[in-house]
Symmetry: C2
């Protein structure tokens, strides 16, 4: 079943098809009378402009590529939601792809997106190596990185202040009286995580505490891995009264492991997360955490990208947003009596 085109409308209206185009695009060089007549007619005929054809001549698709490791992740799905809203408000639509945390897939998706002539790309990189692999493309298509700090790199990104967030967390626990705070889930391959660990270390030093780590040997964070790590951790003797988890998903895993051995949170152990994913506010979870302001991240990311598109890639910008402490029920003041 053929779609009705500009030509069909032109024929029906008895004008040339360029006149119809003018009516549709809101061009000023057309009489008000013909315009309204054509508009009415195209409505009657169920005409819908072919965006693809328009894109060919306009050289802009009003399409943004969104590449994330997985929408099936509370942090990213929330981000994706806000990105869609913000983009749509500005006349753009989103092509969504999951990279499954694979930088080679990211590369392929870049090619795919460029082939589809997206006006720009929003990327939640799978890790630090993303940048190198993607580098050849970055000069050819406006791109904004989200979440990952690429400090030394001359590319635009939007991120929360991970270093500062970690400091806030330690300070909070310190004020609750904790002096032995374990940093849980430190891992390599992500600047984000490196910065969080550094912020933690700096704050420890500031307060005269000894930094202690439980390293994440897996390549990424998940509830499952957090659980496995925590199991091991709890099987050894404990020297800490609070855990600062590198991510909320890690914290969720810790909760599960703690539950299993009858370790009560927050009575026996205070637990602090990072990210404020949706799950953390659930009943019985009620995780105290450092928030990444996702709605803000999303809208700043979209705005940054659109700026870049309009100004034809003039320079780059680093936008660092402030994290905030979200106080719920997983942290309690230090008590020496806490079961060990």
């Amino acid at each position: 079943m053929k779609n009705v085109t500009i030509k069909d409308v032109a024929k029906a209206a008895g004008v040339s098809y360029s006149t119809v185009s003018r009516a549709l695009t809101g061009s000023p060089e057309i009489s008000e009378e013909t315009r309204s007549r054509i508009l009415q007619l195209s409505k009657d005929m169920n005409y819908t402009a072919n965006t693809v054809a328009r894109a060919m001549v306009m050289k802009t698709t009003k399409l943004l590529g969104l590449i994330l490791t997985s929408v099936n992740n509370p942090f990213m799905s929330e981000l994706a939601y806000h990105i869609d809203r913000q983009a749509r408000a500005r006349g753009y639509n989103i092509i969504l792809c999951n990279s499954s945390r694979d930088s080679e897939q990211e590369r392929e998706l870049f090619e795919l997106m460029m082939g589809r002539q997206v006006d720009g790309i929003l990327l939640l990189p799978s890790g630090i190596e993303s940048y190198n692999k993607l580098h050849p493309y970055l000069s050819r298509i406006p791109t904004v990185f989200i979440g990952e700090n690429l400090r030394e790199v001359p590319e635009s990104y939007v991120s929360v202040d991970n270093y500062r967030g970690a400091q806030i967390g330690v300070e909070y626990l310190y004020k609750l009286g904790h002096r032995d705070i374990l940093y849980f889930g430190r891992r390599r391959g992500s600047t984000t995580h490196q910065l969080r660990a550094e912020g933690y270390a700096a704050a420890c030093e500031h307060f005269g505490l000894t930094p202690r780590y439980c390293n994440n040997t897996f390549s990424f964070s998940s509830v499952k891995y957090g659980y496995q790590l925590a199991k091991q951790l709890f099987s050894r003797e404990r020297h800490f009264s609070a855990i600062f988890a590198a991510t909320d998903t890690n914290a969720l895993g810790i909760m599960q492991a703690a539950e299993e051995i009858g370790l009560r949170i927050p009575q026996d152990l205070s637990l602090l997360g990072f990210d404020n994913i949706r799950d953390s506010s659930l009943p019985r979870i009620e995780l105290t955490t450092i928030e990444q302001p996702m709605k803000m991240l999303a809208s700043v990311a979209v705005d940054t990208l659109l700026d870049k598109i309009q100004n034809d890639q003039a320079g780059y910008s680093h936008r660092i947003l402030s994290p905030a402490l979200i106080e719920r029920s997983s942290c309690a003041p230090y008590t020496p009596a806490a079961k060990k």
Copy 2:
């Protein structure tokens, strides 16, 4: 910065541009030698095929529209993830849009998607009224509804067997000894919910139980609304030993309300959900529930849509998938001693 086109490659190779096209599309009417020469050259020149131009002549964009009420919802984001994977495996990409549960927005998005020449649309309808509003478009673009059963309607959909799922749930609670089972969250405006309620009623009758309802007066399910409803419910005298919640999100709200008044789950009250969203498997939540097989829903939906696209909308199909009980820790055998 201009993209390199097929013409640039042709000029560099000293052939006509249709020859380049033939090399690129894998046409057989070209010598092996020229093909490999051109392929190599286009790689060297960083040539990427312009999918938009190709779409114009091929009359297919290999793009699918995905409209859901909100990716920021664990059920839908999981679905979206699997839909992307399945679609990509079959050579398609996804344009994602959130309707924010507004049928007028759904309508606008349909127009937008059609303008973008998507090959088909996957829709998680916001409610029963979606069908009426969208009806005029359904003959113009291949569409598959997901999740919502549109029983009497001659349109394709994929859904879980909600009626059967509710029966399974009641049977499970019955076998645990429960005789007073409250159905929580019944609401209008959604066949899905109607079917669940009907399945519940049928099973009650089968076992000789009296069906009891706590109606959801809100227009949709969320943790917050579940919580508010449960608060009211618990403020009155209770005559039930188990609650069958219409959705997992409702169940999560119930948990929160129960927690607040010191009602223990499952010791004092058994709680059964429906959907098996990701949150339900979290530590401390461990909600026993009826699963919607999302990965399967996603792949059946994509396959159904692609079939429809290829066979030019020949007929429609209703695919009903089987739900399954996921046993966790929120249900316990009935004990008369349970605190009331």
